[in-house]
Amino acid sequence: MGKTIAEKIFEAHLVDEPFGDVSVLRLDRVFCHEITTPTAIQDLVARGKDRVFDPDKIKAVIDHVTPAKDSKTAMQGKILRDWANRHGIRDFFDIGQNGVCHAIFPEKGFVRPGFTIIMGDSHTCTHGAFGAFAAGVGTTDLEVGILKGVCTFKTPQTYKIDIVGTLKPGVYAKDIILKVIQELTVNGATNMVIEFAGNVVDQMNMDQRMTLANMAVEAGATSGICLPDMTTVNYLWEFIKDEYASKEAALKAFSKFSSDPDAVYAKTKTIDVSDLCPLSTFGYKPDNVKPVSEMAGTKVDQVYIGSCTNGRLEDLRIAAQILKGNKISSHVRGIVSPATPEIYSKALDEGIIKIFMDAGFCVTNPTCGACLGMSNGVLAEGEVAAATTNRNFNGRMGKGGMVHLMSPATAAATAIKGEIANSNLYLN
């Protein structure tokens, strides 16, 4: 009987099976940010266990609120910074070098196929785009990860989703994942790993795969995962070229972590995206999804382009293509946050930042910012936002605010029109 990639990763990292019902796994990476890690650090200190299992496997960033907005967030940053210094955690990204965790860690080459990764952040599933088992955890799991380099998980059940067909112009990875969540519902994959497969995923670049894997948790999944292939190797090549004789050799090594053709899946589904049109959410749950055409005319007060879902270079390029030569509506506040300094810098080189500014956008430093309503663009009560982020919960971007999730293309068109609009209006 064949095995899934998740089963193979579990086997390769198994430390213990206490009571037979959970697996304790050895971790390759523990990622940290300044919102959930300080409480873990302080608890470890209080317990007299201020240790780290391996400073080279721990990576940390200040990303949620940066620069600090007040004394409390300054203290969260300080606790993380002091801890990283005291334990020799060299890969710590502070102001000037920092960006959104799920964008910067892959960009620095910290993720490999077959890795086990945890972070105190639910969108850790993003890193599954590289064929890793990556899961969000709470503070206590994070604390134990930092201390001992282990974490427990139930044996994974895999939900395989084949995405097939040919995408129409103006339809993107974000539309696909919104469609997947609509079909699965918000708890359709709880306690499962979603394996994304099919010709559409095979043809995606890593930015697009990360958008897909990023929102697996919105369907309840523990992790989203894409099988490693030459696209994965090409992305990682600059970081691994000293370890492998050739790209083919790297691919062969990574293919150890791939699903067998006769692997057994808990569930499977095929989604043909050939007829898919741009989508947007309409309510307070990410599975409340409708075609953009049915949302047309919905006025928005703010458009936010950024986040770990859609703040990467390709996302900015697509939005800029639509914004070029246009001005955003006079009643819309446009905010764009390139997800990392490298993305920001490349966007500057490519003239993308200028296009955003000419259109009337405010360009912020790389940060989570408005995504979770903690800084840089909180909504007022009763306001409506169009956002390329991943969560539309009531109050997510500010108490009493409404968030419509969509692709960067749709968000750009919406900014121009001042109401939710299809990007084909502005693409010639």
């Binding site: 430390v15 213990d16 206490p18 009571f19 037979g20 019902d21 959970v22 304790v24 919102i35 959930t36 300080p38 409480t39 302080q42 608890d43 317990r47 266990k49 949620h64 609120v65 007040d70 409390k72 967030t73 203290m75 969260q76 606790i79 105190g120 952040d121 639910s122 850790t124 969000g136 955890v137 709470g138 503070t139 206590t140 799991d141 604390e143 134990v144 201390l147 001992k148 282990v150 427990t152 918000v186 708890n187 709880t190 306690n191 309840g220 523990t222 749950k285 979770l372 309503g373 903690m374 969560r391 919960f393 009531n394 109050g395 997510r396 108490k399």
Partner: protein, 174 residues
Amino acid sequence: MKEFKGKVLFLDRSDINTDEIIPAKYLTEIEKIAMGPHLLEDLKMDGFDPKTDIQGKSVVLTQGNFGCGSSREHAPWALEVNGIHVVIAPSFARIFRQNMYNCGMLAIELPQKTVDDLFKEFAGNDTVIAVDVKAGQITVQAGAKTKDIGFEISGFDKELVQTGGWVEYADQNY
């Protein structure tokens, strides 16, 4: 081991998310106790007022997929500092459920029908639930009416609840 007994807060809605349990703006707090007054403050539900309905409650009975959304352990902490150590529902979001056990608290899954029956029979009445972890039994009581319901949790979860959480267990064993 924590105390798993007391008055029931009935929340008859599914998909109650972590932003509703504790809004993101309180994530800048470093002390658990600071979560106390803000538990469920953004939960919009007919007949529920966080200002008056949480006080004195020790057990939450709710619907499916409770705790979906972010990984914040602030959600179980907000319950904990309000003296709520048990949540009973047909299903939970994975991270929330794990966080509860990691803190030595109980997230008990019961069949949908059982939960629906409990809402039908007890909601609106002053109800007390007592959980016997060792025996795997829940006793629900309102006035003269009582009902016993069996439940199962895994051996590992039981160990976490009995030893008070995952940090000590892991540091001793790995």
